[in-house]
């Protein structure tokens, strides 16, 4: 922004000093306010005492020159030119009686203020740019030494949680154990022993059920007794100690000691 912007002083009226040869180059400006600010700088007076009228004239001349040279201008620049032309005429004409609109003087002051504000922030931006930037002018430790973090876990638990966990666990357990506990089985060994006792004092056919009745007092025991007894019976038949017959499906199963004569068969 500090670089002198080349522009042609077509007007010459307000400028006493000789300016560098002027080129109309709108591209160099960041919008109409920027152009205005540059033109204002050319007045070489404090922005507080800038002549807005002169500034308006310079701007309009600049834009006209640009259009004469058939340069493409952004609409912003043209809008500003139109507004400045309006302001210029207001400033030159006698003020109408005080209306609702701001006076020409007030408009001019507001424009001057905007320019001062832009100038000030430019200056601030420049100062910031000139500061010692980290990573450009000043540097942090190039090889920082990492902090070793030791994580120490602290566990939280309340007595309530503890008791609840315990009670729930134990309750599940005793509920599960109740059904398990009652389940008695008549093992194959038990069945075999009982059947061997039977073989001892049997001489003729007898139904297995009749004999087993005494072991089936508990209804729950029925299936386990029947299953084990049948398995044991078949095993003893295979060993030749028993003969077994069943007249039809689902009929009672008859057993009797094997005929010693037929034992080998």
């Amino acid at each position: 922004m500090a670089k002198p912007l080349p522009f042609e002083d077509v007007e010459r009226t307000e400028r006493s000093e000789s300016e560098p040869a002027l080129l109309v180059d709108v591209d160099g400006f960041e919008g109409p306010l920027d152009l205005l600010l540059e033109l204002a700088r050319r007045q070489k007076v404090d922005l507080h005492r800038i002549s807005i009228l002169a500034l308006a004239e310079q701007y309009i001349t600049f834009i006209e020159e640009a259009r004469r040279m058939r340069l493409e201008l952004a609409a912003d620049y043209l809008v500003m030119a139109a507004w400045l032309a309006y302001l210029k005429s207001r400033l030159l004409l006698p003020e109408p009686p005080k209306g609702e609109e701001p006076s020409a003087e007030e408009l001019a002051t507001a424009l001057a203020l905007r320019l001062r504000r832009l100038e000030a922030i430019r200056e601030a931006a420049k100062k910031m740019g000139e500061r010692a930037w980290l990573g450009r002018d000043v540097f942090a430790r190039g090889a920082p030494e990492p902090v070793i973090v030791n994580r120490d876990s602290r566990y939280e638990a309340s007595l309530y949680d503890l008791l609840k966990a315990y009670a729930q666990q134990r309750q599940i357990q005793f509920n599960a154990r109740v059904s398990l506990h009652k389940r008695n089985v008549w093992s194959l060994v038990d069945a075999r022993e009982a059947l061997e006792r039977l073989v001892g004092h049997l001489s003729d056919w007898v139904t297995l059920d009749t004999y087993l009745v005494e072991y089936m007092v508990e209804p729950a025991m029925r299936s386990t007794v029947m299953a084990s007894a049948l398995s044991a019976t078949l095993e003893m038949v295979r060993e030749g100690k028993l003969t077994v017959r069943q007249d039809e499906a689902f009929a009672p199963v008859w057993v009797k000691p094997a005929d010693p004569a037929a034992a080998g068969v």
Binding site: E30, L33, R116, R117, E123, K127, M128, D137, R141
Partner: protein, 236 residues
Amino acid sequence: MQEETAEMPDAPEDEISHVPDHGEAMRIAEALLFASASPLGAAELAGRLPEGADVEKILQDLESLYALRGVNLVRVAGKWAFRTASDLSFVLARNVVEQRRLSRAAMETLAIIAYHQPVTRAEIEEIRGVATSKGTVDTLLETGWIRLRGRRKAPGRPVTYGTTPGFLEHFGLDAIEDLPGLEELKGAGFIEGRVPSDFSVPVPSDADALREDEDPLDQDDFLQPLDMHRTEAGEE
């Protein structure tokens, strides 16, 4: 004193027999500050120094001990950090692999955000008298120097921008009030004059707390800040 020593779990036994040794505490602070890539606050330091150590005194002593050296202890963003002396940038600049240069537009936009925060994009544009390209704000967000603060309680609920602690750190500022030329800016009519009333703020503030005229950001703003920004730009 004996009791205090007993309480301390991490102090080497012989080191601190009576009063926490100022010299030893300085060495510890020095080691901590040297080791850290980012600035450390006085409170952070205090938590890691022997109990009873005078943190302020230690920092002052270290500051003056290093004042004339090639490495200085400086205050940035309210914290402390060792940095190479700024007058030596001419030798060190060669270290810089690639320094992102901000465009003039970006630099001005950053300055306006810094000095005027919280500030909306429309307000930035009013000052510069020109539209701000989306790319400029995106670039600044990428640097991590500016952040979305909230939304202005105004029609359209525009996003307000402010600076981050990273901004202070980068520009070597202790606090936002230390911005250069703040007084001149006040004098230039930043406060008084025709400036719209919702715009003029006496001093810039990068405090986390929202101003009266700010709403918190929406939920979506946090999810996709850059996209949100794009949407905002699209609305214009």
